[in-house]
């Protein structure tokens, strides 16, 4: 594939450059792998081996034991497996939904031109805020929604017309990514109240909804760049042949952007798989996910490093397996779109 080095200069210089590349790559690989090796070693230690100083090689300078693994899988059993199942279900479901909605939205932003009027948008926001305030003042919600809808239509017809500024696709995209700015700490109380009202606390549904909403902007942003790089000609041909937009998207655009989809899937999955703060507040027992189990090993007697190491290891194994399978697609895919603008 891409060979950034000129092909012609094969000689001592080339060999030297290649050697230097390997040295640099191996150095970083060591920096990445050593902490993971340390996790593995720690998971095989008794507490005494952890506290009496650094030991590096099992069987050589300490006697390995599977007691931490046994504790996690036998003693805790359901307290490990239930969060594990929750993590898998929540991450896969939310990532699937995010990818579907995000890819369609990104395609819309890449191929259509949207011109929402600022006045209409402001009126809509005002109406939603009125509905929310009315709802929190114990106005029955059908009345609140009806009132807000009336207000929106009225406002758009009168005051909304006075603000003729039209927004564009870039503004929509920026608004989306700006939804990731507010830190979860600030959002978590309102979200908690929201799901409490909906009686969805401690359910996987609440987590899936949260992760879809928080990861959508990222997926839209990444996939938009990707779609923009696809040649339009193929889609135009299909349109001339009478295929609908939906058909074009489903049978031409999605298959030809598989690399980008796969890479974005991996990013979104990693974010949902590892999320901690929302899970901490929205779940208590039934819907708990694994990051909470890891943090819970920080007991009153200090962090239980050996249990933590086991949990971190079993948590990354599925993602690593997925990365190995998907790596070949990533390499040719992600974000090429922006290259062509």
């Amino acid at each position: 594939m891409t060979d950034l080095r000129p092909r012609k200069r094969r000689g001592p210089g080339h060999v030297l450059a290649r050697g230097a590349s390997y040295v640099a790559l191996s150095a970083w690989a060591f920096l990445v792998l050593f902490p993971l090796y340390w996790l593995l070693v720690t998971s095989l230690k008794e507490p005494i081996d952890v506290y009496s100083g650094p030991f590096y090689v099992p069987f050589v300078d300490f006697h390995p034991t599977l007691s931490a693994w046994r504790y996690i899988f036998v003693d805790l059993r359901n307290d490990t497996l239930r969060p594990y199942a929750n993590t898998v279900v929540v991450a896969l479901t939310s990532t699937g939904i995010t990818l579907l909605l995000g890819a369609t939205a990104a395609y819309g932003l890449a191929r259509f031109s949207y011109r929402p009027r600022l006045g209409g948008v402001l009126m809509f926001l005002a109406a939603v805020v009125v509905a929310l305030v009315a709802g929190s003042l114990d106005v029955p919600w059908p009345a609140a929604v009806a009132g807000a809808t009336g207000l929106f239509l009225l406002g758009r017809a009168s005051a909304g017309r006075r603000i003729p500024v039209a927004l564009g696709n870039d503004d929509i995209a920026f608004w989306m990514i700006s939804q990731r700015i507010l830190p979860p700490v600030a959002v978590v109380i309102p979200v908690y109240v929201l799901f409490q009202r909906l009686h969805l606390l401690d359910t996987r549904t609440a987590l899936v909804a949260t992760y879809v909403a928080t990861n959508l902007p990222l997926v839209v942003w990444l996939m938009r760049d990707y779609f923009r790089s696809l040649p339009v000609e193929l889609e135009e041909c299909a349109a001339v042949d009478g295929a609908s937009r939906y058909r074009i998207f489903w049978s031409i655009v999605l298959p030809s952007s598989l690399p980008g989809l796969v890479a974005t899937f991996l990013f979104a999955l990693v974010f949902a798989w590892n999320e901690y703060l929302f899970a901490l507040f929205l779940t208590s027992a039934r819907a708990q996910t694994l990051p909470l189990t890891i943090a819970a090993q920080n007991a009153t007697r200090g962090p239980q490093w050996w249990y933590m190491s086991v949990l971190i290891l079993i948590m990354i194994v599925p993602v690593i397996a997925m990365a190995i399978v998907l790596e070949r697609y990533i390499a040719r895919g992600l974000l090429v779109g922006a290259v062509k603008g």
Binding site: T2, L25, L101, P183, V185, A186, W221, D225, I312
Partner: protein
């Protein structure tokens, strides 16, 4: 556009007369196609809007109230902007903005240089006949950058102490630039046709896969100077009794190392994908013309990956402003509040039940990052896209 009837072709079967059913079908498909833009973008916009608007409004309200415990429950009393004033000029100023000290001559020189550059930039924009909106925006950016420079110089001077705002700026500035340079270097290395590069690619992705809480605990193990794996190194340096996490800059660097370890892979993989998709012909032509490796990189490769770089830096910048797990677990924000980021600051006073103050910090963070992000998109991202097209 789709005027052709769909379904099994009727041509040649003697049934060309438009049946009512066929007309209905045609009209439905025309309607569906007209609705396509809304159908594609609508659901995502609606979900993000509904999910973000309620928290945005409610946390704005929370930032204007104070939580008080009264017999039988709690009471929210509206205090107006007092939560914000507490952070900016009141009792929390030391933790938020930091302690000011008189800058050294070098500090003054840096500040004067920065202000001169900002004025020069504004002057050039005025000469280039930028519109009034552009001038206003640039003015706001200049004021923000100038204030940030003033704060940095005053709190990082000897005797001063940076608050959570300055510490976060250091994390974002230093972290994102180091991560970008490392990620770019690794991506360039991996884009060569070296045997075994698939191994390196998968390995380099690994740190991103670990949950941030896990990474934080992992680095707490690794940075332990008496039981951690680098004990022999510390002993050799005579530092075995020294906990570098007790030294303010040592602790901040520990947080930065953890952050870099975890997030360099994100930049790496995005840039690698961009490099792989660059067309090869210009590079080959340049090599035939006798261009050096550096010249090829400087004038072909770098412009080609500029838009992607710009996007990935924007995303990383937004995420880096929210750093919380690493300083929380690794150093508990300490020593003192030396490693406290804005989000951790909000979290700490949130745990102390000052939810109004916590929301106020979040809103100030939102303000700063939004202005920076708008400026970035308008001044950098757009230009990067233009440069590549």
């Amino acid at each position: 556009m789709p005027a052709h009837p769909r379904g099994p072709s009727l041509a040649g079967t003697g049934l060309e007369l438009p049946s009512p059913l066929a007309r209905l079908r045609r009209e439905t498909s025309a309607l569906l196609d007209r609705l396509a833009p809304t159908a594609f973008l609508g659901p995502a916009v609606l979900i993000v809007l509904l999910f973000s608007l309620f928290p945005l409004v409610l946390s704005l309200y929370i930032s204007l109230v104070q939580l008080q415990f009264v017999p039988g429950g709690f009471h929210l009393s509206v205090v107006g902007l007092r939560n914000y004033l507490t952070l900016l000029v009141g009792s929390d100023r030391q933790e938020f903005l930091g302690a000011l000290a008189r800058p050294s001559p070098a500090g003054w020189a840096v500040l004067a240089g920065e202000l001169a550059l900002l004025l020069l930039w504004l002057g050039r924009a005025a000469q280039a006949r930028v519109g009034p909106r552009g001038l206003l925006g640039r003015g706001a950016v200049a004021v923000l950058l100038g204030a940030a420079g003033w704060l940095l110089v005053h709190t990082l001077a000897p005797g001063g102490r940076p608050g959570s705002l300055v510490v976060t700026l250091v994390y974002v500035g230093a972290g994102v630039s180091v991560q970008y340079l490392l990620g770019l270097g690794l991506a360039l290395l991996c884009a060569q046709s070296l045997p075994g590069r698939r191994f390196f690619r998968v390995v380099f992705l690994l740190p991103m896969m670990i949950t941030p809480v896990g990474v934080a605990y992992l680095f707490r193990m690794l940075t332990d100077t008496s039981k951690g794996p680098f004990y022999p190194l510390w002993k050799l340096l005579g530092l075995s009794n020294f906990s570098w996490v007790n030294d303010p800059w040592g602790a901040r660097i520990a947080v930065l190392i953890g952050d870099t370890w975890q997030w360099t892979p994100f930049i790496f993989i995005v840039l690698l994908a961009a490099l792989e998709s660059l067309p090869q012909e210009p590079v080959e032509a340049a090599v035939v013309d006798g261009a050096s490796g550096w010249q090829v990189f400087r004038s072909i490769t770098l412009p080609g990956i500029l838009p992607v770089s710009s996007t990935v830096i924007l995303i990383r910048m937004i995420e880096a402003f929210k750093i919380v797990d690493l300083p929380n677990v690794l150093t508990s924000g300490g020593p003192g509040t030396a490693t406290e980021s804005l989000t951790l600051h909000a979290y700490v006073i949130w745990r102390a039940l000052d939810i109004g103050g916590s929301a106020a910090i979040a809103y100030l963070l939102l303000l700063v990052v939004t202005i920076l992000a708008v400026a970035y998109v308008q001044l950098v991202h757009r230009r990067a896209l233009e440069a590549a097209s």
